[in-house]
Subunit: 221 residues, 2 copies
C-alpha cells in the first residue's frame, strides 16, 4: 500500500481516539450532572453529542473511500471494517450518556435519595474501558483488550448490587420508587456503555489474533 494510504489510516486512528475522548467526557459530564445536581453540566453533554454524530458520519465516509480507492485486503481491510464497527459503538455510547443526562435532569424534580457511590464507580470503570478498548485497537494490543473484558464483569456486578440496594429503598417507602427507578435505569445505561466497550475489545482480539471471542466470552473471563 502507498504512503498516502498509511497516513490516511493513521488519521483514521486519530479521529477514533478523538471521538473516544468526546464520549469519555460525555460520560463524565452526565454523571457529574447527576451527582452534583447541576442542570448546566448536563447541557454540555448535548453539545458534545452533536460533535460525536458529525464524526460518526465523517469516519464512515472515510472508511468507505479508503476501501473503494485502495482495495485493501487482509489486515488492512480488517482494520478498516473494525474501524467502522467501532465508530458505531462509540456513537451508541454517546447515546447512553445522553440517556443519563436526561435521567439526571428528571431527577432534579425530586429530593436526593442517598449519596451516590456505586454509580460514579461504575462510570469511572466504564470510562477506563472506553479509553483502553480504543488504545488496544490503535496499538493492536490484545492483552489490553482482554483487560476490558474482565472489567465488564465488574461493571455487571455493580449493576446487580445497585439493583438490589435500590430495591430495598423501594420496598421500604413507596415515595422512593420514582427516584430509585431512574437510578436503576442509569445503572443500565452504564452497563450498556460497558457492553459497547466489550464489543470493541472483542473485535480487537479478533483483529489481532484472528480468533473470534465474540461468543466465547465465558472462557475468556
Amino acid at each position: 500500500m502507498t504512503r498516502v494510504f498509511d497516513s490516511e489510516l493513521a488519521e483514521l486512528k486519530e479521529l477514533l481516539l478523538y471521538m473516544g475522548g468526546l464520549v469519555e467526557s460525555m460520560i463524565h459530564l452526565s454523571i457529574k450532572s447527576l451527582v452534583e445536581r447541576e442542570e448546566s453540566v448536563g447541557k454540555e453533554v448535548y453539545g458534545k453529542e452533536n460533535e460525536v454524530n458529525k464524526l460518526q458520519i465523517e469516519i464512515d465516509d472515510r472508511c468507505l473511500k479508503l476501501i473503494a480507492l485502495n482495495q485493501p485486503a487482509g489486515t488492512d481491510l480488517r482494520f478498516i471494517t473494525s474501524a467502522m464497527k467501532i465508530n458505531s459503538e462509540l456513537e451508541r455510547m454517546g447515546d447512553q450518556a445522553i440517556n443519563i443526562a436526561d435521567a439526571s435532569k428528571e431527577l432534579l424534580k425530586f429530593s436526593q435519595l442517598k449519596r451516590l457511590i456505586d454509580i460514579p464507580l461504575m462510570a469511572d470503570i466504564s470510562k477506563t474501558m472506553v479509553k483502553d478498548c480504543l488504545d488496544a485497537f490503535v496499538r493492536a494490543d490484545a492483552e489490553l483488550a482482554r483487560s476490558v473484558l474482565v472489567r465488564d464483569n465488574k461493571v455487571d456486578g455493580l449493576k446487580d448490587q445497585i439493583f438490589r440496594e435500590l430495591l430495598t429503598y423501594m420496598l421500604s417507602e413507596t415515595k422512593h420508587i420514582p427516584v430509585a427507578l431512574e437510578l436503576i435505569l442509569i445503572s443500565r445505561h452504564l452497563e450498556r456503555i460497558g457492553d459497547h466497550a466489550t464489543n470493541i475489545a472483542e473485535d480487537v482480539i479478533f483483529m489481532v489474533e484472528g480468533q473470534d471471542v465474540r461468543h466465547y466470552q465465558k472462557d475468556v473471563r
Copy 2:
C-alpha cells in the same frame, strides 16, 4: 462484477433473511414464554441463539472475503458494509430476546400481576420492524425502511405507557415492585430491539438514497 460475485451477494441476502427469521422467532418465543408462563418455551430461545451466533461469524467472514476477493466499489461496497452492520444489529436483537427469556423465567417465581396486553403488542410491532427492515434492505426499498422509523415511535410510546402503568402498581403495593420492575425491564428490551431495527432502516435509506438520516430522525418522523 462477475456472475459468481452476484450469486454470492444473493446468498448473503438469503443468509441475512434467514438470520432475521430466527431473531423474529426468538422474540416470539421469549414473549410467549412470558405470557403463557411456560419455561420450556423459553428454553427454545437459547437454542436459536446458538444458531444466530454461528451465523453472525459466518456472515462476517463472507463479507470480508467478498470485499477482499472482488474489490467492489460504490453500491456493491456499500451493500456489503451495510450487510456487516445489519449482521451485528441482528445478533444484538437476539441478545435482547435472551434477556426477555431470562426475565420471563425469573417471573415464574412470582404470581402474575396483570394480564399482559401492551408488552405483547410491543413485541408484535417489533417483529414486523425486524422483518420489514430486512425486506427493505434486500429490495433496496427506502419507503418500507421509512415505515420502520414510524413504527419505532409507536414502540417508544408503548414503552412510556407501560412504565406509567406499572409505576401505579408499584406505588399501590410494595409487594408488586419486583414483578413490575421485571416487566419494565422487558419493555426496555423490546425498545432496544426496535432501536436495532431502526438502525438497520436508517442504513437502508442511506444505502438507497445516499442520504444520511442517522442524525436527522426528527425530520423524518
